[in-house]
Structure formats: structure tokens, C-alpha cells
């Protein structure tokens, strides 16, 4: 009999898996799902205490592919925050993991995102950020870089929305950025996020292998520029390996994306950045924006900001567990109210 490795609560890694992924091979979202599995296993999370909530998109599908023994809710495009707010408010024993996309959060869902952050709802809010709408096939999302070119959508003329800056403006209590191709950092930040008390916003750059039809992307098709265009609009998706990076804090790393474009990642050096300084965090993002860099790491954290449940002064017990005699006042109570309204 083969021995199976188990964690503190006796579960194997297998127990944290979900259904087989139907995302493209090489999609950054798959890599993130795997890190969630790894972290949940390592932290020995009780699967039944976890809820997975998402909107609509390739990213939002991925909760089906991890933690199969946890309840999940694949809701509506851009509306995951409200589902999470409702569920966590009535059951504070749940550990909530939200997965969204840049379209889901930055476009249709921007309002709900900001208001959730403002309320400091206890939730790990992961934005699997690829700068495009994956599921609807390659339109620019609101986080796409200004000046970027995609075959499908042409040139993006609008400035990107910075998920981290938006979170900070809404007084987020935890803001971090990472890269799907840096599993170690993703795991570290996930663990920190899961230990955070309120909303933990994790903006994870998560490359889309499929909408890799960059004008300048000759590389993936050695057959040369002449063929490139016609070969693209035919829904043929060459299998791709996920992009992986490994670099040290303080370093800048240039990563080539599937579409041939490049992004600059810069790993925060904990020595030089104080993540409890809000103004410093904003400044960091602003400077990175000017330099077209992506700062990764823990950008801001405030462990003191109370959660929505806390400021709402709710009973400690989860509301869903209250018995009928607490939920329904007595006949005498009704009689008392009626008496006040009585005629004579």
C-alpha cells in the first residue's frame, strides 16, 4: 500500500483538487488555481469552511478547478463582491476566496469591487489580470496598457485602471500584486491574504496564452509574417507552456508574454518599502506606473481596520446558526407591538 502524504487535518493534496480544468493549457489562471490548492493543503484549511465565489470569465470559472470539497458560487459578471458580502456577513466562520478577472473587476464590476473594499468584507479577492477578456475572445479590458496592440482589438488608446491603486483609493486594508508565473510569491501572498482579517486584494498578472495574436508576434509562428495573419483568425490555439519566472526581491525582471510583448516586474524589497505606509504605497504605484513597471509583493496592509461585520456590531455567533427562538420573537413581543398600535 502506497503511503499518501497528508496535512495536519489528515487530508491529502488530492482532497483539495477540483474538477479537471477546461481552460487553455498554459493559461496563468491554471497556475493560480494550483497555488491555491497547494496553499490550502499546506495551511490545512478545512475544505468545508472555505467558500469560493466568482463572477464570469475564464478566471471566474477556475474555482471549479480547485477545492472540490468546498462550496462554490459562480455568479454573474462583475457581481462576485455582492455575493461574497452577503455570504460572509451571515456566516463569519467561512473563509472566502473570490476569483475575478480584470474585465469582471475593472469594467462591469468596478463599482461593486470598490464598495466591497470600502466595507472591508473578509475575503481574499484575487484578480486574475490578463489585460483582455479571455472568455469572449480577446477584447481589451480596462487594465490593458495604453498603446498596446492586439490583433483583435487594435490599439488600446485608454489609460489602464490600476487594480491596486483603485483598492487603495477605496481604503483597502491589504493590497498585493504578483505574477502567476512566480508560484512561490503567489503562495506566500496567498497565505498572507488568507491570514488577513478584512478584504485582501491580490492583483495577479496572469497571462492569456490564447489571445497572443500581437501584431509584432512573429516569434510563435516560425512560418513567418506572411502566414501569421490568416493563421490567426481560425481559432487554432497552439498548446503553450506557462510562463515562469524566478527572481529576488528588489530585482527587476523583464518577462516576455505570449503575445510577444513584454512586462517589467519589480519585486518589492521589504527592506525598502514599508507596507503599512499608505502614502508610500500610493507613491510606489504611481512611480511604477510612470516607469511602466509592475511592482510585485505586499504593497499595503492595515491589520487594524475593522471588518464590516465588526463595525456592524453583530453577534459573535454566525447569523446562519441562530435557532428559531432567537430569530422569531415571541407571541408576547408581537402582542406588545400590537398594543402600541391599538386604538383603545
Amino acid at each position: 500500500m502506497a503511503t499518501v502524504n497528508v496535512n495536519l487535518i489528515g487530508l491529502s493534496r488530492e482532497d483539495y483538487k477540483g474538477r479537471p480544468s477546461t481552460l487553455c493549457r498554459g493559461c496563468g489562471h491554471n497556475s493560480i488555481a494550483n497555488q491555491i490548492i497547494a496553499v490550502a493543503y499546506e495551511m490545512a484549511l478545512e475544505p468545508h469552511r472555505v467558500i469560493k465565489v466568482s463572477g464570469i470569465g475564464c478566471s471566474s470559472k477556475s474555482p471549479a478547478y480547485f477545492l472540490g470539497r468546498s462550496h462554490g458560487f459562480n455568479s454573474l459578471h462583475g457581481r462576485m463582491p455582492s455575493i461574497a458580502t452577503g455570504a460572509t456577513t451571515v456566516n463569519n466562520t467561512l473563509i472566502a476566496i473570490g476569483v475575478s478577472g480584470d474585465g469582471d473587476t475593472g469594467s462591469i464590476g468596478l463599482g461593486q469591487f470598490k464598495h466591497l473594499v470600502r466595507r472591508n468584507i473578509p475575503l481574499v479577492y484575487i484578480v486574475e489580470n490578463n489585460g483582455v477578456y479571455g472568455l469572449t475572445k480577446g477584447q481589451f479590458s480596462a487594465t490593458a496598457d495604453q498603446g498596446q496592440t492586439l490583433k483583435y482589438a487594435g490599439v488600446n488608446e485608454l489609460p489602464p485602471i490600476d487594480i491596486c491603486l483603485e483598492a487603495l483609493a477605496a481604503e483597502a486594508s491589504f493590497v498585493a500584486r504578483s505574477f502567476a508565473g512566480d508560484p512561490a510569491q503567489v503562495r506566500t501572498l496567498l497565505k498572507a491574504a488568507l491570514s488577513h482579517r478584512g478584504t485582501a486584494v491580490l492583483d495577479i498578472i496572469s497571462p492569456c496564452v490564447t489571445f497572443n495574436n500581437h501584431e509584432t508576434s512573429t516569434k510563435s509562428y516560425p512560418y513567418g509574417k506572411a502566414h501569421e495573419e490568416p493563421l490567426q483568425d481560425i481559432a487554432y490555439i497552439p498548446y503553450a507552456e506557462p510562463i515562469m519566472v524566478d527572481y529576488e526581491p528588489g530585482e527587476v525582471q523583464l518577462v516576455e508574454m505570449f503575445d510577444g510583448s513584454h512586462i517589467q516586474l519589480k519585486k518589492l524589497d521589504p527592506e525598502s518599502h514599508d507596507p503599512t505606509d499608505r502614502m508610500a504605497a500610493i507613491q510606489l504605484l504611481e512611480e511604477a506606473r510612470a516607469n511602466q513597471e509592475f511592482i510585485t509583493g505586499l504593497i499595503y496592509v492595515d491589520e487594524n481596520r475593522p471588518t464590516f461585520r465588526e463595525v456592524s456590531r453583530l453577534i459573535d455567533e454566525p447569523l446562519v446558526s441562530l435557532p428559531e427562538d432567537v430569530l422569531r420573537p415571541s407571541p408576547e413581543a408581537l402582542e406588545m407591538v400590537m398594543n402600541r398600535m391599538r386604538c383603545c
Binding site: 482532497d15 474538477r19 478545512e46 475544505p47 468545508h48 469552511r49 467558500i51 465565489v53 474555482p63 471549479a64 472540490g68 470539497r69 468546498s70 462550496h71 462554490g72 458560487f73 459562480n74 455568479s75 454573474l76 457581481r79 463582491p81 455582492s82 455575493i83 461574497a84 458580502t85 452577503g86 455570504a87 460572509t88 456577513t89 451571515v90 456566516n91 467561512l94 463599482g111 461593486q112 464598495h115 464590516f308 461585520r309 456592524s312 456590531r313 453583530l314 453577534i315 459573535d316 454566525p318 447569523l319 446562519v320 441562530l322 428559531e324 432567537v326 430569530l327 422569531r328 420573537p329 407571541p331 408581537l334 402582542e335 407591538v337 400590537m338 398600535m341 391599538r342 386604538c343 383603545c344
Partner: protein, 612 residues
Amino acid sequence: MNDGAKSAEQVSPTKEGEPIVNDFQIIVATVNGTGSQTANTVLLRALFRMGIPVNGKNFFPSNIQGLPTWFTIRLSKDGYVARRETSEILVAFNETTVFDDISKLPPGGVCFYPAEWEIKHTRDDISYYPMPVRELVKASSTPARLRDYVANMVYVGSVAAMLDIDLDEIESALNFHFSMKSKPVQMNMEVVRAAYEWALDNLPKTDPYRVERMESEEGLILLDGNSAGALGAVFGGVTLIAWYPITPSTSLIDAAREYLKDLRLDPETGKATYAIIQAEDELAAIGMVIGAGWAGARAMTATSGPGLSLMAEFSGLAYFAEVPAVIWDVQRVGPSTGLPTRTSQGDVLKAYFLGHGDTKHVCLLPSTIAECFEFGWRAFDLAERLQTPVFVLSDLDLGMNLWVSEPFAYPDQPMDRGKVLTAEDLDRLGEFARYKDVDGDGIPYRTLPGTAHPLAAYFARGTGHNEAAIYSERPEDWTANMARLARKFNTARRLVPKPIVDEVEGASAGLIAYGTTHHPIVEARDLLHSQGIEVSYLRLRALPLEDTTRDFIARHERIYVVEANHDGQVASLIRMEYPEYADRIISLAHLDGLPLTANWITTAFLEKEEAR
């Protein structure tokens, strides 16, 4: 606001010079933001305390200050509470509308007005009662800054004097209003009394109207429907309320907040056993409700037309993912922003079909504040039993006006939490498929997040799924699931509140109505009866329709569906549902923002009957 003169509305049969007792209507015309609501409800409550059947209706503009507003108080010894088109007694407290208001008085009517306006008495068929408002107020001990406010008490006192309203009851009503705080009560009573005495001394009574104490209201209560609905929700164990402010539903949430604070704080810690979230909009509000419902809580929202439209996508999700939710729609006039402070029954068809694709919803249709209370708690039982959103369709008239009622009955059954499997159940059963029709009633079993069992988890989604809640595009899975949902909807037919039928032997015509249209119907049937015309009546209390309604229709040659919307929405629904009887359905629909009246209904009915 007094569409009186134009129609031959019933006036109490009385001989010249004989008094008309407890059977007339008062209309108070004021400017909003001047505090007249206190004066009006005090008058109303005093009459209520005298045992006289009353109903008060507020016709207010969609702004905060400075526009015309009207308040009617109907006194009806026979207990009619519907709006009446004619008011016999006018309190003219708005200079910009006074001539129009006077012109609508019927012959023999009465006009109270501030003496300082010095208006011409252009009509010789009404009684004019000028009141020296400024003087009386000035003479009182009220500080200058509050004089505008207490000015309204002058008409309270004058009307009380001329109609014979008991001053003690006025004082009781003031005490009620100010929660027994003596200073404001005294300040107001001083003016009331001064006006009362001045009127008795100076105004010779030339009109026949007066009030008399009755015993009929003993033990009854006076409340608005929104408060009643909120109280129902509280006794239904509501646990999460998420909402976004919108007239006329806001006061439902306000009332819930008050009742919850009163009845549902943990006695030991003083902490809340419920959550109220003011959401950023209606999309978020219903999302929170659905999140909470999925997690196992009794959750609700309240809104009106524009909010309902915004809830379309989420309502479809809750229908299809089968998540309980309670949505109050306190209807106002649409399309669009429409008339935010006027009443209608214009969302019924819309709520029933809310969401794209083949979505259909359970709707409850309260007529009275007692039903607001009852449906307030029952909606949760239905939502959890059926695992679906339940819409409660109230309206501004019911929700924001004050109605007399028997005290509410405590729920007659324990909370029905529906088919929820616990970890122990799962142990026993050894299997679980979220969307499987185990019992043949179309209602599957669910588990709640947090259930400590390896079989408990499932993945809720708005996409096509098989019995195990797994994404599926297989045609068979889709049709099987939709067929089960149809079975469930048929189960809903059996579970929703049945219509109330009052059938007259041999009547060939029947009326169908719902919601507040019930009240003028009661009166209209009596009017018809007095003309020797008998009609049966069925009052719908819920959708989907069920057999009682079909059978009622089958037994009558002509069915008149009376409703306060433009398109005859429920008439349409009945035609859709019972095509075999569609040709006997006649729509009597009318919407102008005011509650329907018995006069309109009888006239419209008789016209159609004669046109046959």
C-alpha cells in the same frame, strides 16, 4: 387631488338639514415640508380612537419642500376604506392651490382657510370657515422659530370644534405621536385648544357634517403597510437585509430597522442577530441577498420599479441556481422613473417574468396590512421551501398610508426552512446531488456552505448544469432541469396563499382583483348590490395562478379583472394561463397614480356590461 365634481359619486343619502355623521371625507391641502403630516395623522388618529372607521391617504410630491401636497381622511361608518373621489371638507392651507381645491368641493361642502388670506367667497353652495391662524399662533407661547410648524394645529383645533372631535383624543394622538414627551404635546395642544375655542365662539356651523363615537374599532390597530411588512419579516426571522433607498420602499426598511432594534438585539450582549446593509445600488443589494440566501440565511431586499428592473439579471440567477430570496416591490407609477410618489400595480407582469429566458417567479399580492404582515413572514417559508426568489408586490397606497386592521396573528406554523441536508443527513444518505428531484415535487435538496461533510459541497451556477450541479451543455440535461423547474413551479401553485372567493349564487359576472384594488371593489360590489346587481368576487393573493381561479372563471360568463395599471397586466396573465377562458376575461384597468375608487369601478363595469 379631488377629482370630485366630474363624477356622480355616491353621497350619503340624507335629508336637507339633517346631520351627516361619520360618513364623509376631509382633504387637507398644504405645502410639503411644513410639518402638516403631524397635524393630519393626529386628526386621523383621534378619529380612529373615537372608534370611527377611517383611512388616511397622503398625496405628496416627489420633492422635499415647497410643493403642493394633499392628505385625505375618509370617515365611513360602513367601514369603507377605499379612496373616494370627492372630499366634502377642505382644509385649504396652500395658497397656490386654494382656488382649484375649492372648485372641487361638492355642493354643501366646507372650506377651512386662514383668515389672513381674505379670499373671496365665490361659491354660495359651500360653508366657509376662516381661521385666524397667524393671530392664534402669535398669541400662543410657542417660540417664534417654531410658529410655522405649530400653525398646522390651528386647523386641527378648528376642525375638531366644527366636527365635534373629542379634544381628549386629539391629546392622546399627540401623546402617541410625540412618544409621550410632554413638552411638544403641551405646545401643540395649546394651539389646538385656542383654535378649538375660537372656532366654537366665532364660527356658526352651517354644514351638516359631524362625527360621533362608535364602538367598531375596539382593539384594532392603525399602521402603514410598510411597517406591517417589516414587522412580518422580523417575525419571519429575517437575518440579512440589503437595500438601496428608493421611494416608496424606503420606509419598509426604516421600520424593519426600528423593530429589529427593539426585538432582535441579543439580550446579553446587546449585539444584533441580524445585519442591515445599505448597498451601493440595487444590483448589489439583491446580490447580497442571494449570497446570504445561498449561505443559509433568511435575506430580503425592498425596492420599487427602477430597482426591480436593475434586479432582473440577479433574479434570473436566483431562479436558476435555486437560491431563496425575498424581494419586496412597493410599486409606484412607471414606466421609467415615472411618478415616484404615486401608487400603481404596474409591475406585476414584470416581476412575474423578471429575467431573460424562460424565467418565472412566485409573487405574493397583499391587500391589507394584515397580509403585509403575514406575507412578510410567509415569504421566507415559501422562498426556503421552494428555493427560489419570492416577490411581494405591495404598493405605495398600501405601504405608505395608514390603515386600520385587526391586530396581526402570530405565525401559525414554525419556520419552514425547506429541504436542507445536514452533515448527519449526508452520513445517513451516503450521497447528494444538488439538483436531483428526489421527492417528485421538483424541489431538490441543498446543503449550506460550512456543512462539515465531504459530500456537502456543490458548485452553484447560473450556467446549464446536471443533477450534480456540474456544468453541462448536454441537451438532455438542459431539458430535464427545465422540466424539473416546471414541476417545482407547479408545486408552488399548491403552496402559495389561495385566492379568497366570495361567490354569489347565480351571478353571471365575476370580478377578479388583487392588492389594494380590493378595497374599492368591496365598496363597488355594495353599490352594485344596492342597484340590484350581484357580482361574484375572487381576490388573488399570489402568482402562479391555481385551480381555484380557473374554476371561478369557469363558473362565470364574464370575468372583469380590475387593476391599477395601464395594460391590464393580470388580465393578460390570466388569458395566457387559461386560454380556454380567455374570451371571457374583460380588463378594467386604469392608472393615473391615485388609488382606484368604487365609483370608477362601478362606472367602468356598468359601461362594459351595458355595451354587451
